[in-house]
Symmetry: C2
Subunit: 169 residues, 2 copies
DNA sequence: CCCTGGTTTTAGGTTTGCCTAAAACTTCAA
DNA sequence: TTGAAGTTTTAGGCAAACCTAAAACCAGGG
């Protein structure tokens, strides 16, 4: 089974289990926009993988292992969606893209992303640079407040992001 | 054909075309880590889609349409990898993850991401907040420099990122 | 209790993207 | 010019994840 496929099922089953106590085949199918017969087939496979417990005609419930995966996916999803929203992506779009991205982001990247979201939420940092970024998005202008300028930097020396990155090596 | 599959082929063919003048079936196959026969099959499909010109035993060259897609993918890839590196992800990991993510990020999100990379490269903003973020990653401490603190903010009022986002609505 | 409507499963197909093995082609060196 | 080595294509298969249609199951109202 493709990992992405597995993960999508697990996320939906987790949500249904919380809402309804168990995940019914038909509900899973409609959430995934597939036919119930396809869901049945996948449930059997996921049971074989040890991710859920499946009883015919009774639906599925996640095992501890499945729940662990579900929670990990939740936190990935949240971090990505929050991050996107911070950089100004519309919440709906952020949600949609996060749904895809969460299946393709490695551990290290996730950690940095989570850090970033935390960092943006810290009151002592949040306002200025996030606001400046937003203004930059709208006007294309760097903005005029200089409190954030490094005191020892040569003024207005325009540097590219790659230059910035190279310098840090 | 799955969009991701198409895109991966186009990216590799584009790179080979630049390097060798044309994309040979065998080279495509080894880059994609598949067998040449599979590449042949896909080349026929991509030709039918109008993305490339394919002559048996002679290899493939992208059409204008294919080139346009290739360039779009390049810029997506670059923006994502640069962004990841800015937030502290190791270059190799950033490259690997960008390869996956580029197929799943929508237009609006891409625009914001590009903006963000530009913004981080602007000399008047780059140093402080990026550096503070890096320190935060390493120490977990907010850091002590207060030049970036909003002058009218209640000091040390700890806010979550979600609170920050809600406030902006 | 039973039977009818809705849900779920089973059985048998389809498509996509890959594979192996063998045939066809190309090239280059003798 | 020829044939051997390497490359490419063709032909025939396979697995994953979906589908349709029909059979099996379940639950509530008469």
């Amino acid at each position: 089974m493709r990992q992405k496929t597995v993960e999508e099922y697990i996320e939906i089953i987790y949500a249904l289990e919380i809402r309804d106590g168990r995940a019914a085949t038909g509900k899973i199918a409609s959430e995934m926009k597939i036919k119930p017969s396809s869901a049945t087939e996948m449930l059997k496979k996921l049971q074989k993988e040890g991710l859920l417990q499946y009883e015919t005609y009774a639906g599925a419930t996640l095992t501890d292992c499945g729940k662990r995966l579900a929670l990990e996916l939740r936190s990935k999803h949240k971090a990505i969606a929050d991050f996107l929203e911070i950089i100004g992506v519309d919440r709906r779009v952020a949600e949609r893209d996060a749904c895809q991205m969460e299946h393709h982001v490695g551990r290290e990247t996730m950690e940095k992303l989570e850090r970033f979201v935390q960092f943006a939420g810290l009151s002592s940092y949040e306002p200025l640079w996030v606001e400046n970024f937003r203004r930059y998005c709208e006007t294309g202008q760097p903005g005029e407040c200089n409190l954030c300028t490094r005191l020892d930097s040569k003024k207005h020396a325009s540097r590219t992001a790659s230059a910035l990155l190279r310098r840090r090596k």
